[in-house]
């Protein structure tokens, strides 16, 4: 972790546009440090998801740069290591869960990181247990309920043991029961987080710092 006080993730004057005439983000400076849980709000289409995708190198800034774990990251290969240490939970769990069974989906990340099958199996068991999903190993992913899919998708990200979690609308579409479960899980995790959400109540429960995207720029925000 960043015992030396360096931020885990940093945006330095980052700008991004999908097409030249319509910038999405401009001059964004952001630091995420250990223990911070940043709640990020902003209108629809304001670039919240874009910001998360920039952080893991799925998109690249048109100006400025991204730093992760003390190093500037500019190219696709710079981000391979970042993706092992920064977990991104996608908005739609259908996009994230592509394996036939829960165990395989949760094992996908650890196996890609070079764990053996036995290690991966142990990680799957532990991770599911920690999210109260024990016994889900052999369930078929497309037969799960929406709430279950969201939790399994979170498990598949946590199985990589990330140091930073980026969560894109994690409570979107969840009923009270699953929103409560998810809130409890996130509050119990030690990782630094960036939480994109429209749900102020949820952010007030989980985040300890706020920011808002307004007219392409990032502004601090009091969540209370």
């Amino acid at each position: 972790m960043s015992a030396d006080g360096l931020p885990l993730l940093a945006f330095r004057g980052v700008a991004f546009a999908y097409d030249r005439d319509r910038p999405v983000l401009e001059g964004v400076d952001l630091e995420v440090r250990a223990g911070e849980r940043l709640g990020l709000v902003g209108p629809n289409g304001s670039g919240k998801t874009t910001l998360l995708h920039l952080a893991v190198g799925l998109l690249h800034p048109t100006a400025g740069h991204i730093e992760a774990f003390g190093e500037a990251r500019r190219e696709e290969k710079d981000f391979h290591e970042v993706r092992g240490r920064v977990g991104l939970l996608f908005q739609d769990p259908e996009d994230q869960l592509f394996s036939p069974t829960v165990a395989e989906d949760v094992a996908f990340g650890p196996l890609n990181l070079g764990k053996s099958r036995e290690e991966a199996r142990a990680i799957v068991g532990e991770t599911l247990q920690a999210l109260d999903l024990g016994g889900y190993e052999d369930r078929i992913t497309h037969h799960l309920s929406y709430g279950e899919k969201r939790l399994v998708a979170l498990a598949s990200v946590l199985a990589m043991r990330p140091e930073v979690l980026l969560l894109d609308e994690p409570t979107d579409g969840l009923d009270e029961h699953y929103e409560g479960r998810l809130t409890g899980i996130l509050r119990g995790l030690g990782q630094a987080m960036v939480l994109v959400s429209h749900d102020r109540g949820f952010l007030a429960m989980v985040a300890n710092r706020g920011a808002c995207i307004r007219q392409c720029r990032l502004e601090p925000l009091d969540l209370a």
């Binding site: 391979h80 739609d92 259908e94 996009d95 592509f98 890609n112 099958r117 497309h142 990589m160």
Partner: protein, 254 residues
Amino acid sequence: MVCEAFLEADTFVHRLDPRVRVVAALALAVLVAVSGRLVVPGAALALAIGLAVAARLPAGATLKRLAGLNVFVLVLAAVLPLSVPGPAAFAVGPLAFSGAGLLQAAAIALKANAILLAVTALLSTMELSDLGHALHHLRLPDKLVHLLLFSVRYIEVLRHEYGRLLRAMRVRGFRPRTNRHTYRTIGYLVGMLLVRSVDRSERILAAMKCRGFKGRFYLLDHFRIRPSDTAFAAAAGLVLLALGWVEWGPGGWV
């Protein structure tokens, strides 16, 4: 999904190792397909019926599946006796039905039904994901296995998307008719499905990259051969050998 009716029962067939079932079904299908005698597909059909009963296949869904196939078989049965040259077995007015044609039609009917029923009993009774894994363990190329597994995973998602779009069209008063408006609308529907699928595939790839995907898949294997699998494999092997003996052996069977 369409074939879930076959998964409901829990018989010894359902519990057999998927790899054993794939190999047995494939071997039987090949043997029956190349057979030149009626007795081999006939025996195979009897075996397939036995397997279907043992797997407690639901009668309705099974017959529906066979009915779809037999529409084609009926067409052949009507055409072959008229088109295959040979002495007429019987004639209806000016139409002479050749004996050779009737035999061929009968062979095709037996073969097609035997293979479909055996494949239904052995393969439709496993989850498609298990089928994918079995094929992987049987060394089928990874690309084909992953194509199958991705199709299995996302076909329901696509069907839901199609359903949502169709409902959205209906609540705005869309009724399919035979006119340009209908064709254009259906065109938009299909186009929209394609666009959304491409978008989704990009999001899936992005999600996979975030979890360290570098172009290789790892499957967790969880099959284990049990005594019942060995017994079934041995029995299947003996039956296939016997059928092969009947087909190619010295006996003068027909």
